[in-house]
């Protein structure tokens, strides 16, 4: 979700097989660069595989180019990595969120074969995708300050996951501002 010179990215923490919950501390987002995060939803094995592949590519880029990925470049990298497997895709839907070098918000949601959708407002993926889009449409408004953005994204993800029985069990929110990254874990329903 984008705000005024800030972006926020949030995910729940559940990892489960059908109705069985296996973990409540499953990381679904990782910090790609100082001001960019990648969040991946979908099949856990692919989420982890891709996180490692992206981490590898990000590190290689940093070493080769002696600079960090811009969010838009990162999104293109993610997109082409997914499209390479057009006919045998990873079962994932990633989101790239961050601030570019001028601290403008950048948000990009992708489907499983790398069709990227740049949004000026918000992007959502995962099992409660429809619920997320519904709450986003209602609660989001332009030019939110970091603290307001935190509240909006937190309420959005909590409302949506409360109506999806296979997600929830805790949530993490990162708010990226030009000065700092604020990370908070939310108190949520645990059922």
């Amino acid at each position: 979700m984008s705000g005024k010179n800030c972006v926020a990215i949030a995910s729940d923490k559940r990892f489960g097989v059908k109705y069985l919950t296996i973990s409540m501390e499953f990381p679904k987002m990782f910090q790609a660069t100082d001001k960019t995060f990648i969040g991946i939803s979908g099949l856990a094995t692919d989420v982890q595989t891709l996180m490692e592949r992206f981490r590898f590519k990000i590190n290689m880029y940093r070493m080769n180019e002696e600079r960090d990925f811009e969010p838009i470049t990162l999104a293109n990298m993610v997109s082409s990595t997914l499209y390479e497997r057009r006919f045998s895709p990873y079962f994932v839907e990633p989101i790239v969120a961050g601030l570019d070098k001028n601290n403008n918000p950048y948000i990009n949601g992708m489907d499983l074969i790398g069709c990227s959708t740049t949004a000026c407002d918000f992007a959502a993926t995962g099992t409660p995708e429809d619920q997320l889009y519904g709450t986003c449409e209602a609660l989001w408004e332009p030019n939110l300050e970091p603290e307001e953005l935190f509240e909006t994204i937190s309420q959005t993800i909590m409302s949506a996951t409360n109506r999806d029985c296979v997600s929830g069990w805790g949530a993490v929110v990162h708010v990226i501002t030009p000065e700092r990254v604020i990370t908070r874990t939310l108190k949520t329903r645990m059922d």
């Binding site: 045998s88 499983l112 937190s154 309420q155």
Partner: protein, 268 residues
């Protein structure tokens, strides 16, 4: 495990194919790729080509993107509207655009529409319709204005006006009743807008606003959101939450440190 040397070989990777088949057999359903249930049109006019597209992208019945851009750049004088699987139209046009750019640099000549057409058709034919990309290709080159359509299986059609996508039936009706030969630029733009609007209103897969590209000899103009038939109704009041609304369990900060370069080190 990530291989230590990750050198891209080029082409598609089929490593997960067997695994995905097994997963699907076991009832793990594949997430739906984003499609552009689309209305895209193109028409020739007196001295150029007008292309038009709606801006809705859908995943199943969910609107994935309310303002996506379906008029893809291929060369400064050639554009192509894409319908079908969004990732395919996106990537194929990007690939062909880069091929054309390299070709221009090698030959020092303006790209021809036929070159773009051949590259697209041969690529799509090679994949036997598995790449779900349908395109309306338009441009102006040394031979004048050209308009083609390309189907996912790699067949082409050459017509003075064309429609594709799920809204093409609505759009073609506008052209069939109102199209004339040798239209003026403004007339052609108006007709394209009407055709796209017919798609937006009558086809559920098409929506949002009208994008238009006008290509004439030596000049191409792309107009994003030329018409927005139904702008989103803005909220009258605000839903902002007071800071502290959400209960949190833990909090951490990662402050960025700004490094100001000092004087240059004396290395004499």
């Amino acid at each position: 495990m990530v291989s230590r040397v990750d050198v891209p070989k080029g082409g598609f990777n089929f490593d997960n194919y067997q695994r995905n088949l097994i997963l699907q057999e076991k009832g793990f359903s594949l997430p739906k790729p984003t499609k552009t249930g689309t209305t895209i049109v193109g028409t020739k006019f007196k001295n150029g080509v007008v292309l038009g597209a709606d801006t809705r992208a859908t995943g199943d019945t969910t609107v994935m993107d309310k303002n996506c851009f379906k008029i893809h750049y291929l060369a400064p004088n050639i554009y192509g509207c894409g319908a079908g699987t969004a990732a395919d139209t996106d990537k194929i046009t990007k690939m062909v655009a880069s091929q054309l750019e390299l070709h221009r640099l090698a030959t020092g000549r303006e790209s021809r529409v036929a070159t773009a057409l051949t590259a697209l058709t041969q690529f799509l034919f090679r994949y036997q319709g598995h790449l779900g990309a349908a395109l309306v290709l338009g441009g102006v080159d040394v031979d004048g204005p050209h308009l083609f359509s390309v189907s996912p299986h790699g067949s082409t059609d050459k017509l003075p006006y064309l429609c594709q996508g799920s809204g093409s039936l609505a759009a073609i009706s506008i052209f069939e009743s109102q199209w004339r030969e040798n239209m003026e630029r403004d007339e052609a733009i108006e007709l394209v807008k009407e055709a796209i609007k017919a798609g937006i209103f009558n086809d559920m897969g098409s929506g949002s606003s009208v994008d238009v590209a006008v290509i004439e000899k030596g000049r191409a103009e792309v107009c994003r959101g030329m018409e927005v038939p139904y702008p989103t109704i803005q909220k009258v009041d605000s839903y902002k939450f007071k800071p502290g609304t959400t209960a949190i369990l833990s909090e951490s900060f990662r402050n960025f440190v700004t490094i100001t370069e000092g004087d240059a080190m004396d290395i004499s």
